[in-house]
Subunit: 209 residues, 3 copies
Amino acid sequence: MHEINFWISVVATIAFAVTGVLAIADRGVDIFGVMVLGVITAIGGGTIRDIILGVPSFWSETQMYVWLALAASIATFVAESFFTQPQIHRTMLYIDGFGAALFGIAGLDKAWNLNFGLPVAPVILGVVTAIGGGLLRDVLAGRKTLLMSHELYAIPVTLGCCLYGLVLQFFPQYTVQASVICIAIIFGIRVAAIHWDLRVPKLFITQTR
Amino acid sequence: MHEINFWISVVATIAFAVTGVLAIADRGVDIFGVMVLGVITAIGGGTIRDIILGVPSFWSETQMYVWLALAASIATFVAESFFTQPQIHRTMLYIDGFGAALFGIAGLDKAWNLNFGLPVAPVILGVVTAIGGGLLRDVLAGRKTLLMSHELYAIPVTLGCCLYGLVLQFFPQYTVQASVICIAIIFGIRVAAIHWDLRVPKLFITQTR
Amino acid sequence: MHEINFWISVVATIAFAVTGVLAIADRGVDIFGVMVLGVITAIGGGTIRDIILGVPSFWSETQMYVWLALAASIATFVAESFFTQPQIHRTMLYIDGFGAALFGIAGLDKAWNLNFGLPVAPVILGVVTAIGGGLLRDVLAGRKTLLMSHELYAIPVTLGCCLYGLVLQFFPQYTVQASVICIAIIFGIRVAAIHWDLRVPKLFITQTR
């Protein structure tokens, strides 16, 4: 289990960095900006979570995540034409969606195990872990954040984290099963959203006056 | 006194969330963005203050604030046409101004009681408590922040916090009276600014070249 | 040595505030925005570093930095026409470059001495100390951040910090010499970049599609 978790988070970190760089590549970013923004996309959410939790940033203890994100960002810059192929880009988006699911649930778990403001705060911090890095990247790159884009990204993460929080609160004996199921739910909705290009229906959007 | 404080901060949290959502509603935000940005407007400033203070975020201990902000944000989304009526919107702005006054002074108090960098740091953290949430919302929503808008919002808060800090430093025996008076000053200037649409005079604005 | 360090950081704080204000002056900022953004430019990077380190913000202990930045910001506002003279502005940019070099190396030192995630995290925090304040200012002012501007600013800082980190890791006996040399390297590249208006070559920029 631990072994699996490790490899999943390796793959997810790489996917976060790659999709993070691809999201901003069309704005003409230099290699340094690519490295910084790729790393921020990959480790930014967990950093905000750890700051709010008052614990040392996870990457100060496991530096591998910085190196992975850095290498993935540089590789994306060098092989931009490879990664921007529609099929490859889409595959990265799927892995990125899986990463968001995993990081969200893992972030919630970390806060829950630290007994931080149960039960509401861990759910918030799970969502922050999954989307915080992307928000930081978009703000620093002058890009519309996903809070304004009507994408189905943060919504499945939030649904899955709420569900997982409910199970931890009321049925703690099913923690392991719930984590797998909630990751599957988040990933499933995200895959559907990418595949059919689903967005938030107009009914749930404020009217532009 | 404690009782009053509690109810004031309940009302102020709701007002922050409502005005926070109204500020971005014209940009076409979905219900999820509304919830996130409403909550961030309401609790973001206090969160930054607590991070700088190195204490757990206030909402991890009193989760009610999250629920209040969430409920107020959703209500604003659902009843958008109600809240955007000029008279109601204006009333919310007044309550929001009162909330900013209260949160600013309360934030200063918290830092002061923790003996954090007296006397300058508490004044800064009071201002951060009052305006930080709105700044985060504007940045995440891609909106001009109030630092650039020439509104009389942060200025009265800062004046009131400076005055309150001076009293705490030199006349600590008048703390209670000073807090009431400083809240009144901030709120009074803010009411005048809303009522007469006062802005920072041109003399105090850098010349656009 | 300690004496010199003190005076250098005084001058650097002032230069950060002045160049910070000049960078946004053309957007029509009021005196309050000038004060806030000037102070944030000067102390924001160190604040983010201290938050990630989990130590009290440096300005809560040495409040002088806040006063210096505040005074420099107000002076820049009042004497805008003086500071915007090409020769003066350029001089301030040179001092600012020196400040970035100094703050980067000093920030790295602080993290290293706290044993925070050696050897990678201190290098990251050195860079954050040098450029974090400018990033915050640009985001709050709605300005393109330097990560997107192809300027040679963050790059020399990062090179110098990496080099210094390598020396601290492998040749700790040369710490003092290395700090002077790395500051000189950062400053030298920055001076060259300002003087000849050097930018990141096109080869190292993603293609805008």
